[in-house]
Symmetry: C2
Subunit: 470 residues, 2 copies
Amino acid sequence: MMQYGMFVLIFCAVIFLPADAQQNEEYLDIGEQLLHKGLVEEGAYTILDKLLEVGPRFAGTPQNAAAVELTHQMLNDIGLDNVWLEPVTVPRWVRSEIEEAKIAGSQRIGEERLTIAALGGSIATPEQGITAPVVEVHSFDELEELGDSVEGKIVFFNRPMDRRLVNTFAAYSGAVNQRSRGAAEAAKFGAQGVLVRSLTLRIDDYPHTGGMRYQDGVPKIPAASISTKGAELLSETLKYEEVVDVYMRFTPEMRDSVQTYNVIGEITGSQYPDDIILIGAHLDSWDITPGAHDDGAGVAQVIQGIKLLHELELRPKRTIRCVLFANEEFGISGGFAYAGSEKRYDEEHLVAIETDRGGFLPLGFTVDNEDEVVEYFQRYTYLFEPLGMHQIIQGFGGVDIIPLREQGTIAMGLLPDSQRYFDLHHSAKDTLETVNPRELELGAVAIALFAYVLAEDGLPRFIHEEYLSN
Amino acid sequence: MMQYGMFVLIFCAVIFLPADAQQNEEYLDIGEQLLHKGLVEEGAYTILDKLLEVGPRFAGTPQNAAAVELTHQMLNDIGLDNVWLEPVTVPRWVRSEIEEAKIAGSQRIGEERLTIAALGGSIATPEQGITAPVVEVHSFDELEELGDSVEGKIVFFNRPMDRRLVNTFAAYSGAVNQRSRGAAEAAKFGAQGVLVRSLTLRIDDYPHTGGMRYQDGVPKIPAASISTKGAELLSETLKYEEVVDVYMRFTPEMRDSVQTYNVIGEITGSQYPDDIILIGAHLDSWDITPGAHDDGAGVAQVIQGIKLLHELELRPKRTIRCVLFANEEFGISGGFAYAGSEKRYDEEHLVAIETDRGGFLPLGFTVDNEDEVVEYFQRYTYLFEPLGMHQIIQGFGGVDIIPLREQGTIAMGLLPDSQRYFDLHHSAKDTLETVNPRELELGAVAIALFAYVLAEDGLPRFIHEEYLSN
């Protein structure tokens, strides 16, 4: 029986090889057309350049509204089949113009300015600021051991990202809880405020902001990121002196929520228009940065990707939809609104591919799913070899498509070189000059190609129905 | 007989698998030690930073001599088994302080400054410069068709690098003959001088210099690179006007040759000290650039590579030798001197690995040899997967190790991301700021690891003797 089965398998392989081979050739040919057009035009970079002219695109800001208008116009100008906006309500947190901190009470070095940026969502310090002794910790365990001795103090979370990891996203994951939960954990023991080492592998004077959240039933205390240079200085000072006072003052405020939009455009499928392959990125950035890589690059790549497909007059069987999600950074508002919209009732989202890891050299794709599903998608590896991409591996897809993934959509992510990303992530260093037009474009081409091929092929029953029945 | 042979092969495989697996584990462990130490210290970047302080390291300059002294000291400071200098005589070509050009005779746009840089080895224009009509060509065929009609004119070679190619080195290869041979070809038809479009994929105002050579029996005429922005302007102007005069003036001179050195250091093999695995890069740069990527990055990687091995007290069976070659850019002087030295008589160079493609994200290695040899080295791919490198492929090794290759050494090259390299190659844009410390370090680690493993394993008879008997 075993042997018979093997013969059947071999037989099938022989039968279907010519048809597959022909289709493989066709897909490779389409890949080459996309690649050549993309690399000659470098359109993603042009889009990014225009997008960055509006300024930081933080949720709820006028600049964010301008980015909605601009990208909506860009999708319209392409001449896609459908272009529309879907409303999203986003919180409106406004950073104060003055954010300052200093080592105020060191006998050894006197006063030294520290560069900080309030974390997104933080409450304000009192108008006169906080001046309090600093306690350095590297983990929540260490904080717990200190217990009530941190009462009235500023807790300084100073655990660096682990430099030894080749994948810097893994290093980020290992350090980010200080930023997201540090204030809540420190407040449990009566701390007055927190400073969190910036999540970067560089030692410089740029603070890297990011989201944080308070915990119900725990007092809210102000929280800011401190530049790594400042963190090193503060840590060094604490080695020599038992009591070091820090002064810090920042007065952000939470205002009324604001309506913005997910920006959407699509090439309608010729046979199954309600079956969707989504390519997405988030339109917002943090407020202290141009957000060139995070996620201007992603926005530029998906707009350019669908533009390339449109201009080559490629209309697959299923719909390819480009979605620019609102407010990923400060609440995933667009991702939840999109997946939860009643417009989704008649639609089937087979695959969602997000690009939100920077516009660096693309190395492949991640598939956020179990082994056999990842292996299924690895059949497409050959398509990306000519682009210099060799990996289709298991891994996280993207934040904006988590709500879709929960509904059964296969979540995938573009996987670029990660070495440079956290040098600039959520900081003023995330500028256009750090983007290479060709690296950016290769990502756009790869996304367009994968979206097209998946929109032609659909998904086999073992993947699709299994996940719909979850 | 065939079947018997197959059984023997399978039998051997089974016998040796446990031992191999153990060795694989040992090598992976060494790789991890190198990687962790490297990424924590980022020593290659520190070395590069110091190296760039001496200024452009063009052959024969005092800065080049300072770089010899500095790197010699660095190798001594590591505490290697042997460190020494080997003399190399290099030509001394000196660029003039004033290099200028302009569109001098356009009715449409009047005078417009053009940014140029004399090509390395060019003769001077007359003291008053050249003013002559410009003829644009894109190939030597086109030049030949024009024939004697270019007499007395400036030939403007304007064939761009092919943007469609993912591998930018292939695009460079397809355009570089204009630079290297353009002057000789144009002189055959009586041209007065040549301007060559800078070999870069960016449109900007930085000229990219590089080597050129004259041809015996053909008059020498002055040759300069022109920035791509200037090339585009000139080409555009020629679309509207039949006769456009260009003025250009640069007065470099060839002086007496100078003695410099190949800088060499090694970890002596414990069993076969005369069998060498060479890791190399070139110490010189062009004169108008810091040469951070070309080839400061390579120099930093091989110094850091051998430093990591030394500090981890790894002494393989065969010798690992680090060579910083003199004057690659303007004659491969160091490469020829090294391979031709009588010191080589008692030595056997098994493999030479060069790093001279920039300090960008390493993707793998090239092996400059036939298929079966490349396949042999692919057995080591598993070692580099943890570093995010997946490719050991056929391809050029490096310019400095061509003379060794001719003598039977296996030539290999570190293969990094090529997308950004020609943005800055041979231009003032090749600065420290464009180097990422982690990308640079990953290359150093990869070279150290490959050198160590090859120095332990040596080469199988089918590779080594075949090539010695060539």
